[in-house]
């Protein structure tokens, strides 16, 4: 065929220099960067303090990453669609406190399943409100969710309550106590791995399947890449937007309920101020605030990294006040690294 000889010229792929190879690999394996940092942190901490290598620490980190991980999965979906959400912690607080309060006052004997479902539904509803507002007002997602964050928190503290209470429904206490694994460690401490961690695993699997194996998932990335082109190709942008915020809200509602079950108390002031750390974890995992990118695997790795830093630095004698500085350094590193990846991989 006369046109086959033109093929190589037209379909030239970027030639591979070592830098480009790394950049390419990271683009194909977004979890690589946070996993590398994770491994590095473990090795450094473990070298300084060999006590680090024990099951209890692993369980601590995994347990502590459940709530932040659920938030992060929601933020991932929103970021992938080109949005930004800072209202999830307020949604979680509103949902967890309201649901716990209503159940413990009206139906204290209610099982855990309906409580979890109530958390999911309440969160999804509040999240969908974000999406609807963004569509109606044609306003930036950041501004709208800052506003709803204040509104949700204000509503909670003004109309629902401000008092911490500990007489939460029995089913919630019991659920928080179920252990998948339990052991008495060498120094006589009881080590437990909570079953609610499985809920996080399930949420991650469902989110992954949704993003990668449904048309909706592709629509999410399409909107995050070039919304005007996605619309031209027949994707309903407004619907996708409502969905991603509802999804983030739903996971936040779930996270709120799990937060109460693990702490065995409902505090309306909890969870506030976690927004930036969660967004940072997602960005560490390879999502971009500019939208259209990000994976579930990378996000989980990012969350584990942040939780690890949060939990173990104290073991190597770094004062806990320094924790935030280390997290900040990692985020800065991630920002530089991903900017380099984007520059190197796309540039030819």
């Amino acid at each position: 065929m006369s046109d086959t000889d033109l093929q190589p010229a037209i379909a030239d792929r970027p030639s591979l220099s070592p830098g480009k190879r790394i950049a390419d690999w990271i683009l194909a394996n977004p979890a690589g960067f946070p996993l590398a940092l994770l491994a590095l942190t473990c090795l450094v901490v473990g070298a300084i303090n060999p006590d680090f290598w024990q099951l209890a620490n692993l369980f601590d980190v995994l347990r502590a990453s459940v709530v932040e991980g659920l938030f992060a999965l929601g933020v991932l979906v929103v970021l992938a669609a080109g949005g930004l959400d800072v209202s999830f912690s307020a949604i979680a607080a509103l949902v967890m406190y309201t649901v716990t309060l209503i159940v413990s006052t009206l139906v204290p004997g209610l099982g855990i399943l309906p409580i979890l479902l109530a958390g999911l539904a309440g969160g999804a509803l509040l999240g969908a409100l974000n999406g609807v507002l963004i569509n109606l007002l044609k306003a930036p997602a950041l501004i709208v969710t800052i506003a709803t964050q204040y509104a949700f928190r204000g509503f909670l503290l003004t109309f629902v309550g401000t008092a911490l209470f500990m007489n939460i429904p029995a089913s919630m206490t019991a659920f928080g106590q179920i252990a998948l694994f339990s052991q008495v460690s060498a120094d006589g401490l009881r080590v437990q791995f909570p079953a609610y961690f499985l809920i996080f695993v399930l949420a991650a699997i469902v989110t992954w399947a949704l993003l990668n194996h449904t048309l909706l998932g592709r629509a999410v990335y399409a909107c995050g890449g070039k919304p005007e082109i996605a619309a031209r190709l027949g994707f309903n942008i407004a619907r996708v937007r409502v969905f991603v915020f509802a999804w983030a809200g739903m996971l936040a509602g779930l996270a709120g309920i799990l937060h109460v079950t693990s702490n065995r108390l409902a505090n309306p002031f909890d969870l506030a101020g976690t927004e930036l750390a969660v967004i940072a974890a997602v960005v560490l995992g390879g999502a971009r605030v500019t939208g259209g990118k990000g994976t579930v695997g990378g996000t989980i790795a990012g969350v584990l990294l942040i939780t690890l830093v949060d939990n173990v630095l104290i073991q190597v004698g770094i004062p806990s006040t320094w924790r935030t500085a280390v997290v900040g350094a990692f985020i800065l590193l991630a920002g530089m690294f991903y900017a380099w990846v984007d520059r190197t991989a796309v540039g030819r």
């Binding site: 086959t4 033109l6 449904t214 909706l216 399409a222 890449g225 996605a230 031209r232 027949g234």
Partner: protein, 519 residues
């Protein structure tokens, strides 16, 4: 060439009107498209071409009139899915590709979306998508291996992206493919390949509607030329036999000079205005030397990978050369910093006015004055906006920029007027050398005329002008000399008054093969 021609038209519009507020953009358009034919929609910016396309592709609905596809009336409300389902693929200049998705997704996703009727809560059939994409990619001459199909589109060169958008049309088994300025970003060789692919589509019975400013290209492709002016069809003609000057006249309603604009000749001078000696940049260009006299216009051309673009950037100080020397009126210029070049009097008008040049949401005044704020500074270093406005008005008058006033945002202007604002900005710096990179890309015939006149006037006033372009007629019409680059070197320099297009194409090494591609 096979023509699958049935009597029933594929698409028909009847008495189509479109009003935007007070603007009557379409005034009764009757368009008939038959399968397996080529159509070229010709007209100046603002003549209603894009409105017509938006209506056909379901992005907008007409104010009056109807659209029928294979005898079926199209919905009255905008519905891209319905248009796609009916077999209409629209490839805009941005190629309608999603940069962060893979090749296979870009090719195959719309088919699944159409199959589901726009519903999103359905399973993505990856295997099916991959098979479809592989088939369509192979058909347009792209690789069809999994590694390529999984590459994200933003990592591929523009010519490949162009073919991907056509592969999508193949995958969708489109009855009509609309292409808006498909060749703007392509080199001759790539255009030749594209035309081959397009002929294959035609052989399958697909109709193609091109929107284009390049009349010579339309002529090479052949088919029906539809000339639009003021929201109406003014003529339908066989583009192969049409006289291009006549077509230009129909489009603009005025006589367009196809002859050379260049009448004056460069001033004799002892010292060259710009003297380039042994300029090199690793991997881009080597050993470039030439002298540019005051008032001379030099054209530089070559294939996309010939090094012409890096050379233009190098002379502008945007990508500093590794070796060599540049002297401006005898004084050495440091090219490692764009602002020194600018201060000394070398102005560079970039090719991509939207991405590299203009601030679309800023006013004409802001866009023009931004390079000369230094000169507009009054007491206390405060920039006088009144003086900026006066300057902008002078430039706007001088360059015949059509706008309500100089406070209008540049984004509200037509392509030709935007280009004039960009040129005006650099003329405001009163440069001694003006480097224009693709000065009329995406600009209509009437605006081209104005821009050429501006270039000539500047040269007559003694400015040295360099035009870097792959628009051969444009170079012949304007330049004293035309240098052809290949593999990073200047291989031949022609006298602009004597050279013909064939000689130039031959030297470039990308002779447009019009030979039929075997289906």
């Amino acid at each position: 060439m096979t023509q699958t021609d049935t009597d029933a038209p594929f698409l028909e519009t009847r008495a189509l009107h479109k009003r935007y507020g007070g603007v009557h953009a379409l005034r009764g358009v009757d368009l008939t498209i038959r399968r397996g034919r080529f159509y070229h929609l010709l007209g100046e910016n603002g003549c209603g071409k894009s409105t017509l396309i938006k209506i056909i592709s379901g992005a907008q609905s007409p104010s009056e009139g109807r659209v029928q596809i294979e005898g079926v009336e199209q919905p009255a409300t905008p519905d891209p899915i319905a248009a796609l389902a009916a077999g209409i693929e629209t490839v805009y200049q941005d190629l309608s590709l999603l940069p962060n998705l893979s090749v296979e997704e870009n090719i195959g996703l719309t088919s699944q979306l159409v199959a589901s009727g726009g519903r999103l809560a359905v399973r993505l059939r990856r295997g099916e998508m991959r098979a479809l994409a592989a088939r369509a990619a192979a058909e347009v001459g792209l690789p069809s291996d999994p590694a390529f199909l999984r590459t994200h589109v933003d990592r591929l060169p523009i010519a490949t992206r162009q073919l991907i958008s056509i592969a999508r049309a193949v995958a969708a088994e489109a009855g009509l493919v609309i292409m808006d300025e498909p060749t703007t970003a392509l080199t001759r060789r790539e255009i030749a390949h594209l035309i081959g692919v397009i002929r294959k589509l035609q052989a399958r019975g697909t109709a193609l509607l091109f929107v284009t400013h390049k009349l010579d290209e339309a002529k090479e492709i052949g088919g029906t030329g539809i000339v639009m002016r003021d929201g109406q069809f003014v003529a339908e003609l066989d583009i192969e036999t049409a006289d291009l000057a006549e077509v230009g006249e129909l489009m603009t309603n005025r006589r367009i000079d196809q002859a050379r604009y260049r009448a004056a000749s460069p001033a004799a001078a002892e010292v060259a205005r710009l003297s380039v000696d042994g300029l090199s940049r690793a991997g881009s260009y080597r050993d470039i030397s030439f002298d540019l006299a005051p008032g001379e216009i030099l054209g530089i051309t070559g294939l996309l990978d010939s090094g012409r673009n890096p050379l233009a950037l190098g002379l502008a100080g945007l990508a500093p050369p590794d070796a060599g020397q540049v002297r401006l009126d005898g004084r050495t210029v440091d090219l490692s910093d764009p602002s020194t070049g600018m201060d000394r009097g070398i102005a560079y008008v970039p090719e991509d006015r939207l991405e590299e040049g203009l601030f679309l949401d800023k006013s004409i005044t802001d866009n023009i004055a931004m390079t000369v704020f230094d000169r507009l500074r009054g007491a206390l270093g405060i920039v006088s906006m009144d003086r900026a406005r006066i300057l902008a008005r002078e430039v706007a008058d001088d360059l015949k920029i059509v706008a309500e006033d100089v406070d209008a945002p540049v984004g509200s202007l037509s392509g030709g007027n935007q280009q004039r604002v960009l040129i005006g900005r650099w003329l405001a710096t009163k440069p001694r050398v003006l480097i224009l990179h693709g000065p009329t890309v995406g600009v209509d015939v009437g605006s081209k005329d104005t821009i050429f006149r501006i270039i000539q006037r500047q040269a007559e006033a003694g400015m040295g002008v360099i035009i870097v372009s792959d628009d051969i007629p444009e170079l012949i019409q304007n330049c004293d000399r035309i240098a052809v680059m290949r593999d990073g070197r200047i291989v031949e320099t022609f006298d602009g008054a004597r050279v013909d297009a064939g000689q130039l194409y031959a030297a470039i090494g990308g002779i447009l093969e019009t030979a039929e591609t075997a289906p």
